[in-house]
Amino acid sequence: VTVIPRGIALPAPSPIVWSVVARRGNIAAAVCNDQQIYVWALADGRVVRTIDLGSREFDMAAISNDGELILVADYAGGVTVWSCSNGGVAFEQRVRGYLTAAAFSRDGRWLAIAPGPEPLRIFDVASNRLLHELPGTPGGFTALTYSRDGALIGCADGQSVRIYDARTGTLVAENNDFVLSILAVDFTRDGKHIIAAGSDKVVAVMDSLTGKTLRRTKRLANPVFYLDVSPAGTELAAVTFKANNLQSPAPVTFWNVDSLQQEPAFASPNGVHFGLGGWTEDGHFLTVSVMPSALHLLRAR
């Protein structure tokens, strides 16, 4: 591992396509052009696992909070979860089309996957058992998140935010206040509120039980691609991007969750690769910069 200002650099043997960081702050993983997933232990920067994707055309990835499970979906409808500790396949499904969103519950027991307009499916990871199917949405879900206790699941699409009871699959609440696509959702620490944002350039806090909008931020300069509430539940981070180029990073903006008072923003010197960092359990917000030959993890908080 190389120490760089505000963070570390993890050398990658091939250009990076996508990367994820576990909330525990112990593991980072990257899908690379050579069709390998490289998994690093952040304590010493060693590559602890390499997973071969073969000829699969990479669609998206997700990682469990503890860094033990890595999901990779491909455009042919394959969905695989690997165990980082033993390299074995922990979960496997095939879907029609491909995934537009996926999320592990915070304890890694459950996995929600959204295959395009098909029903959203919730699985028990260990047994591969389908627990619930929730109604799909035309054009697919754009974002999924679990509440910290796993009781609720929040989903967003082009028009609405919906909150479901994750254990029964029943709809709890819905919000249709956004005009443009919603791209990011996260629950507050206690699950009483869900926060959403997207191309409206406004972050809205909603009641999880009624769906009613309670408060909103001022209009931002850029759309929001990713939202994350800090482990203590006090800070909200929004990763933004420039509308003219989804790959072009804009500053990470922070607010106090309760007051929505804005705090100093962070602009990565190298450019932040959106949505792939986040809060770690020790209270740091990591941003990820994908450099040609390395993954840079920088502390924005």
């Binding site: 035309p138 054009g139 005009v179 180029n245």
Partner: protein, 211 residues
């Protein structure tokens, strides 16, 4: 059920129950009803595509998205909306949005966005410009969100066979954009007019699944 009429399956079931339909002993009634009902699905439903980050509701009703002096190759799109039984959907609503010729979406206003109501026989048309390549996407594309009473809402995208990404052979190369679920979404382009008033014309028919 549509417009108060029985579906084919309902009609056949009722005829069978009243003795107006009998099936030979080598053919079970449920199989016959299923096979007959399947004959109604004369068209394949249009493939879905992602809604993307820039959908915006409440777009104005206009068939003229191209303004005077707009840069980019003028585009004329027309088509019809059907259901899988081949019936034209007169009441279909089409929400359409795309980037400008440089690949930029207008998210602060409604440029290159419209809400159309299909005319008689499910026909629709609009004028615009060929969109540019958005940096995060492989292909030029036009987004559609199409809804009609009795049908599932469809979100899809239309692509251009002339897109350089396809290297002149969309049959072989349409999967270069991995989100394209069907070759049928890549439409041939007809160039008309004269060199000074050239217009690219595209036809895109949309088929919705029943609820």
């Amino acid at each position: 059920m549509q417009h108060g009429l029985l579906t084919r399956r309902e009609l056949l079931d009722r005829c069978a129950s009243l003795g107006f339909l009998t099936v030979s002993v080598s053919f079970a009634l449920p199989d016959a009803v299923t096979a007959w009902a399947e004959q109604d699905h004369v068209r394949e439903a249009t493939a879905w595509d992602e809604v993307g980050p820039f959908y915006k509701r409440n777009a104005p009703h206009t068939a003229h998205l191209r303004g005077p002096g707009d840069s980019g190759l003028p585009l004329s799109v027309s088509g019809q909306v059907f259901d899988t039984r081949g019936r034209a959907l007169d009441h279909a609503t089409l929400e359409i949005w795309h980037a400008d010729h440089l690949g930029h979406y207008d998210i602060d206003g409604y440029r290159y966005r419209t809400t159309l109501r299909a005319e008689r026989s499910g026909k629709y048309s609009f004028d615009s410009v060929i969109p540019g390549h958005y940096p995060d996407r492989v292909c030029q594309h036009v987004h559609y969100r199409v809804s009609a009473p009795g049908c599932k809402t469809l979100v899809t995208q239309m692509y251009f066979a002339t897109d350089p990404v396809f290297e002149g052979d969309p049959d072989r190369n349409y999967k270069k954009d991995p989100v394209i679920q069907s070759r049928d979404l890549v439409r041939p382009v007809t160039i008309g007019g004269n060199p000074k008033t050239m217009v690219a014309s595209v036809t895109f028919e949309i088929v919705l699944e029943p609820v």
